[in-house]
Symmetry: C2
């Protein structure tokens, strides 16, 4: 028995109960097998009531993104115009990297309802259950030299933060370089994968993960102290298409500004949103740890950290945490 | 008839003539087909004498790299220790990138006798005929942040230049960032392809192409004004294994120095070898062209160019040419 047939059976009854006995007979499977399929559908976002003697009833379906819903909302020139909306994918990053190597154009977007192997920074896994978040990757082909790539990381954080604030009234702080925090909890993840030939960027794949409508039970318990969804911090369910459209619009606008005017305006916006600046901070770099006070960004996008002796050190790669 | 059978027939006669008639009969092919195969073998580096009435005679074989010859010459810890020596390859870069994605270790080396699709900077094709050059790619996994990648480009140029000077007594100038010139002619090409996740380099594939024993007739005529082989500039045939071993040794030594002491010593070596500094230069960047006098490298590996008004501009990506 496939789960699709159980699903179609429940759907055919349009919210009425179907007895386990009937399902068992029609599908020629055991009651235990039915139960397993029900649990599986529930993890995918279906809501199924099970009542003794009455049977099973479908009362809720997962929210699904659709191209038909999304495209009319898009207010962009190229971002998201070449769109691949997938149900389940290994990782949207890997998917889009493949397209990039085949020559896909700037602005190409891969969205997945669910990732089976979503990746975060430092190769950490990233929770991306079906239908509750935005798991997407955007292709850039920026005509800027390789050492400017950290600027794009910061730009992505500003764009995502502004887009979310347009949809729900929450205050978002950016923790260097690109974590978005609400009340100290992480609500999204950004991962840039770049490929370069000498000092020329061939492409950048920007991975954007936003925990939109996840419930506390979607998180492993140890994560609940440091991560939250937009629904958890705002109390409201958010239309994912609206948010995707806002992200693409903000991103395209800031990216255009960056290409026209350079890093200065992005730097100012980032610094205005940052929660990392001007406080005692521990920085763990691949070359060792130290403590200092981040004071701002330099021209390249590096973090300028004031040390105890008043000297400055510029950091491009570090994990930061309060002291 | 395959060329291998013609080759084995000629080889079996150990330098004696084999008549066209005999070949034709043994292989059951036309005289024209034999002639075509002879030409093909010649492009691969075989030397075949054709004398009317006597027939064909094999008088020279292409020089072949062998692992058995190369390994005992290696004086390195990891560079070249994991070695893949191939006959014909699309591009050693693509080959090694595939290995890098599968987790190959630092120092992994791909060498090919011949590339069918060798690539140079800016996607230009690169002449890499069989048996006459060094076409190889070396894998690095440097624990340095992404913006430091240009430093590795400069390091590669210094390492290659020093290795060549160890083998033959010629004076090599480095044209920014990494062209090696002898008497104004380019003798090698370096191409770094890097993959990064945020500001962390995942790997760098260093492509090294050295025109070792190419003859003038190996070059398209328009290239002869600006390119030459080591044999053409020095008058001697060079043992490629010796040169490969020297390159790997110099590269590993400088790379170790770089990881231990940072960019400063590499910068000093590069500046000492440079032919780009302190002269009026035209710089064509993706953002437009300008004229200035390069004065040195900055901490990141960018080229610091003095403009007419005395101000400085740092360039990471440009084609440079004398004015």
């Amino acid at each position: 028995m496939g789960k699709d047939s159980l699903l179609s059976l429940l759907e055919a009854e349009a919210g009425e109960y179907v007895s386990g006995e009937e399902i068992s007979r029609k599908m020629n499977v055991s009651r235990t097998a039915i139960w397993k399929q029900v649990r599986k559908l529930e993890t995918e976002g279906y809501i199924i009531e099970a009542v003794p003697r009455l049977g099973y009833r479908l009362t809720g379906k997962p929210s699904r993104l659709s191209v038909h819903e999304l495209l009319p909302k898009l207010n962009t020139r190229s971002f998201g115009r070449n769109l691949r909306l997938l149900n389940t994918v290994h990782s949207t990053q890997d998917e889009l990297r493949g397209l990039a190597e085949q020559g896909a154009q700037e602005g190409t977007l891969v969205i997945a309802e669910q990732q089976t192997n979503g990746r975060g920074r430092m190769g950490r896994s990233w929770i991306s259950p079906a239908g509750k978040g935005i798991w997407m990757s955007l292709l850039l082909r920026p005509p800027v030299p390789l050492p400017h790539t950290p600027q794009l990381t910061l730009l992505a954080a500003v764009a995502l933060s502004r887009a979310i604030s347009r949809i729900i009234p929450i205050i978002i702080g950016i923790k260097w370089p690109n974590d978005l925090l609400v009340d100290g909890k992480k609500i999204s993840g950004i991962l840039l994968e770049s490929a370069a030939e000498d000092e020329r960027l061939r492409y950048v794949v920007v991975g954007l993960g936003v925990s939109v409508n996840l419930e506390p039970e979607d998180y492993p318990e140890e994560l609940l102290l440091k991560a939250a969804s937009l629904k958890m911090v705002s109390g409201s369910t958010i239309n994912r298409s609206d948010l995707i459209a806002a992200i693409l619009e903000e991103f395209e606008r800031l990216y255009g500004l960056y290409l026209d005017e350079g890093f200065a305006p992005i730097r100012a916006l980032w610094e205005a949103h940052s929660v990392t600046l001007n406080q005692q901070t521990q920085l763990n770099t691949p070359q060792g740890s130290f403590v200092g006070v981040p004071r701002g960004l330099d021209d390249m996008g590096g973090l300028q950290v004031e040390l105890e002796d008043g000297s400055y050190r510029t950091v491009y790669s570090a994990e930061v945490s309060g002291v």
